[in-house]
C-alpha cells in the first residue's frame, strides 16, 4: 500500500459515506424496479463503489467526466443530487436529464458530467474530443473517461487511445474491469487479459489497481491524474473490481458461479474499508450509525422527490431535437 494518501478523519469518513450512499441508493433502485416505479434497463453498481468514490477524489470541478450506462456510482460521487437521479429513473421532468434519458443517460452539464452512454465504447471518442477542445483552448483540465472491460473489444477503444496518445490529449482512461462483458468472461473476450498492457501499443503510460480498496484507488488515480495534468498526454488506469449483482435486472447470471460471487463479496469494498478504519483511529460505532441513518434519510428524500416530480407534457415531445429558433 505504498503512496498511501494522507488521510484525515473528515476525508476518511466522507469516503465511507459516499460508498454507503451509492450502495443504499442502488438497493432502493432495485426495490423500486420490482414494483415498476423504474422501468427499462437498470445496471447496478453494487460492489464497485470504491472505483467511483476513489477515482472521483482525483477529478476536479473543472475536469470533464464521460461514463457508461452503469454510471449511478459516478454520478453520485460527482455530487449530482440523489433526488434528480431517482427522478430521472422515474422518467420525471425533474430528472437530471429531464426524464428523457433514464438510468443509462444521466447528464449534468453544470457538473461537466457528459453522460451515461449506452453504446459500449461510444463515449471514448467524445472524451477524446472534450480533451482536444481543452487542449486547443489551453484550458487546464482533464477528461475522466470511464468504460468497462467489454469496451476494450470495440474498435473505438483502440482508435481513441491512439488518437489521444498521438495528439497528447489530457484524457484519463479509467477501465472498470469487472471481469465480465455482460455474460462473457474476460478470458473469453480478450486475447490479452492484462488490459493495462494494451496502452503499451499506443506508447501510453498505464497502471492497475485493486478496485476494491478505495484508498488504493484514490492513490493510483491521483498518480495517473498528475501524469495527465503534467502534459504527458493520456493515461490508462485499470481498476480491477467486481459487480455483486447481475449485469442488469434481467440477467439470470448463468455465466458465473455463485461461489465466485461469494468469494468477491468477502472483499466487499465497504466492509474492507470499515475493517481498516479503527486501526487508523477514525471510526467509532456512532460514526457508522450516523452515516447509515444520514444515507437512509437521503435515499428516502430522493424517492419522495421522484414520486412528487411532475411528468413532462406530451406537447413538449418535439422539444430538444434542434436548438430553439432564436431569429
Amino acid at each position: 500500500m505504498t503512496g498511501e494518501p494522507v488521510l484525515d478523519r473528515a476525508h476518511g469518513l466522507d469516503l465511507l459515506r459516499q460508498m454507503v450512499l451509492i450502495r443504499r441508493f442502488e438497493e432502493k433502485a432495485a426495490e423500486l424496479y420490482t414494483v415498476g416505479k423504474i422501468r427499462g434497463f437498470l445496471h447496478l453498481y453494487i460492489g464497485e463503489e470504491a472505483v467511483a468514490v476513489g477515482t472521483m477524489q482525483a477529478v476536479g470541478p473543472d475536469d470533464n467526466i464521460v461514463a457508461t450506462y452503469r454510471e449511478h456510482g459516478q454520478a453520485l460521487a460527482r455530487g449530482i443530487p440523489a433526488g434528480s437521479l431517482m427522478a430521472e429513473m422515474y422518467g420525471k421532468a425533474t430528472g437530471c436529464s429531464g426524464g428523457r434519458g433514464g438510468s443509462m443517460h444521466f447528464f449534468d452539464v453544470s457538473r461537466r458530467f457528459y453522460g451515461g452512454h449506452a453504446i459500449v465504447g461510444g463515449g471514448l471518442p467524445i472524451a477524446v474530443g472534450l480533451a482536444l477542445a481543452d487542449k486547443l483552448r489551453s484550458r487546464a483540465a482533464l477528461t475522466a473517461c470511464f468504460f468497462g472491460d467489454g469496451a476494450v473489444g470495440e474498435g473505438e477503444f483502440h482508435e481513441s487511445l491512439n488518437l489521444a496518445a498521438l495528439w497528447k490529449l489530457p484524457v484519463l482512461f479509467l477501465c472498470e474491469n469487472n471481469l465480465y462483458a455482460m455474460g462473457t468472461g474476460l478470458s473469453r473476450h480478450q486475447s490479452q487479459t492484462d488490459i493495462r498492457r494494451k496502452a503499451d501499443a499506443y506508447a501510453m503510460p498505464a497502471d492497475v489497481v485493486d478496485g476494491m480498496d478505495v484508498l488504493a484507488v484514490e492513490a493510483a488515480t491521483r498518480r495517473a491524474a498528475a501524469s495527465v495534468r503534467g502534459g504527458d498526454g493520456p493515461f490508462l488506469l485499470e481498476l480491477r473490481t467486481y459487480r455483486f449483482r447481475a449485469h442488469s435486472m434481467a440477467d439470470p447470471e448463468l455465466y458465473r458461479a455463485k461461489q465466485e460471487v461469494e468469494e468477491w463479496k468477502a472483499r466487499d469494498p465497504i466492509a474492507l474499508y470499515i475493517a481498516r478504519l479503527p486501526e487508523m483511529g477514525f471510526l467509532a460505532d456512532p460514526d457508522l450509525a450516523a452515516i447509515e441513518s444520514g444515507v437512509a434519510a437521503e435515499v428516502d428524500e430522493a424517492v419522495r422527490f421522484a414520486e412528487a416530480g411532475p411528468w413532462e407534457l406530451v406537447e413538449d415531445l418535439t422539444r430538444h431535437v434542434y436548438a430553439p429558433v432564436t431569429s
Binding site: I119, G122, I126, W167
Partner: protein
C-alpha cells in the same frame, strides 16, 4: 462577384471561418499536409498551423466522435469525412451521439458541429466509392442535411452551418469540385431549409439537389426545344425540406418529376413524392415520377455506370412519358 470553382469557394469559406473564429478548427484524413483528397483544404495547414488543421489517423468513428466532444467542449470543429462511403464507419457517433445528445440530455447539450463529405458516383470508382446516401442521413431528426449544387451555395451553406447550434452535414457531389460559378465577394450565409427555383416553367416541375442539378437543367433545355416548359427546383437542403416551394410549383404545373442519385427504393425522392401527394393531391394531373439510380451496386465500366445513374436523357424521357400517358 468573382468566378471560382466549387472547391475554391469552399476553401474561401473555410479560410474565412478559421480567420474569424478562433474556436473553428478542421479535422480529417489528409486535410493538412496532403492538402485534402479533393484539394479543398489545400495550403490551409501552412496558413493556420497543425493545431487547427489536423490530419487524423484512419479512425472515422473516433475523430468524428472527437469532433462531437470538442463541440461539447466549446469549439466549432469542421470534420471532413473523405467520402460518404467511409461515413458508414462513424454512423453510431452520428446517429447515437450527434443527433441525440441534445434530446437525451433534456436540452442541456448542443452539438455545433459541421461534417463535410464528398458524395455520389460518376467517376468509375465502382461500388464501394460511389454511394449517394444523403437520403439515409435526411431520415435522422436532430441533424441538418444540405447539398450545395453551385459554388455560391458551397460557400454560402458552409457559412450558414457555422452559425447553426446543431450538427450540419454538407454533402459535396464529387463531380462538382471543378464546377465554376459566380461567388459574392462578401459572401452572405445562405438560408438552410430554403429551395431555389433555378429555371421557371409552366408544364412540369423537376425537383433535384446537389450533383444532379446540372443534368436536370440539361434535360429542361432539351424539353424546351420540344415545347415542354420545365421548371427546375434545387432543394439545396434535404432536412429541413422546403416542401412549400415545391408545392407552389406543382400547384402551377400539376406535374412533378424528382431526380435523385440514390437508389430508388426508400430513396429521398420517395419522401419528396409522398409529401407532394400529401400536400398537393388535388393539384396533380399525373402520378409523381422519380428518376433514381438503378438498384445495383455501382458498376465500374463507364457505359454501365452511365446506364445506372440518372442522365439528362432519362430525365427528359420521364417527362415525355408522363405527358404521353396522362396528357
Amino acid at each position: 462577384m468573382t468566378k471560382m470553382t466549387y472547391r475554391d469557394a469552399i476553401r474561401e469559406g473555410l479560410r474565412e471561418a478559421l480567420r474569424s473564429d478562433p474556436r473553428v478548427f478542421l479535422m480529417g484524413e489528409d486535410v493538412g499536409r496532403y492538402g485534402g483528397s479533393f484539394k479543398v483544404t489545400y495550403r490551409l495547414l501552412e496558413e493556420f498551423g497543425p493545431e487547427r488543421v489536423r490530419d487524423t489517423p484512419l479512425s472515422e468513428s473516433t475523430f468524428l466522435g472527437a469532433g462531437i466532444g470538442a463541440a461539447l467542449g466549446g469549439m466549432r470543429p469542421i470534420v471532413e469525412i473523405m467520402t460518404v462511403n467511409f461515413s458508414l464507419l462513424a454512423l453510431d457517433q452520428i446517429v447515437n451521439n450527434a443527433a441525440t445528445l441534445r434530446h437525451m440530455s433534456g436540452g442541456q447539450i448542443g452539438v455545433p458541429l459541421i461534417v463535410r463529405m464528398a458524395t455520389g458516383g460518376g467517376r468509375q470508382l465502382a461500388a464501394q466509392h460511389s454511394h449517394s446516401l444523403e437520403g439515409w442521413f435526411a431520415h435522422i431528426p436532430g441533424i441538418k442535411i444540405v447539398a450545395p449544387a453551385t459554388p455560391a451555395d458551397a460557400k454560402g451553406l458552409l457559412l450558414a452551418a457555422l452559425g447553426d447550434p446543431d450538427p450540419v452535414f454538407i454533402f459535396e457531389h464529387a463531380t462538382l469540385y471543378g464546377l465554376e460559378g459566380e461567388v459574392e465577394d462578401e459572401a452572405v450565409p445562405s438560408e438552410i431549409g430554403k429551395a431555389a427555383v433555378r429555371r421557371t416553367g409552366e408544364t412540369v416541375t423537376l425537383i433535384t439537389y446537389g450533383g444532379s442539378l446540372g443534368k436536370t437543367l440539361q434535360a429542361a433545355d432539351q424539353l424546351a426545344v420540344e415545347g415542354i416548359d420545365a421548371e427546375v427546383i434545387d432543394l439545396r437542403s434535404l432536412r429541413p425540406l422546403d416542401i412549400s416551394t415545391v408545392l407552389a410549383s406543382v400547384d402551377k404545373t400539376h406535374r412533378a418529376v424528382i431526380v435523385d442519385e440514390g437508389w430508388r427504393m426508400c430513396s429521398f425522392a420517395a419522401e419528396v413524392s409522398a409529401q407532394i401527394m400529401e400536400g398537393g393531391f388535388y393539384n396533380l394531373d399525373a402520378p409523381v415520377a422519380r428518376v433514381c439510380s438503378a438498384e445495383v451496386p455501382m458498376p465500374y465500366a463507364k457505359h454501365m455506370e452511365d446506364a445506372a445513374l440518372p442522365q439528362a436523357a432519362t430525365i427528359a424521357q420521364a417527362v415525355r412519358q408522363m405527358l404521353g400517358a396522362h396528357g
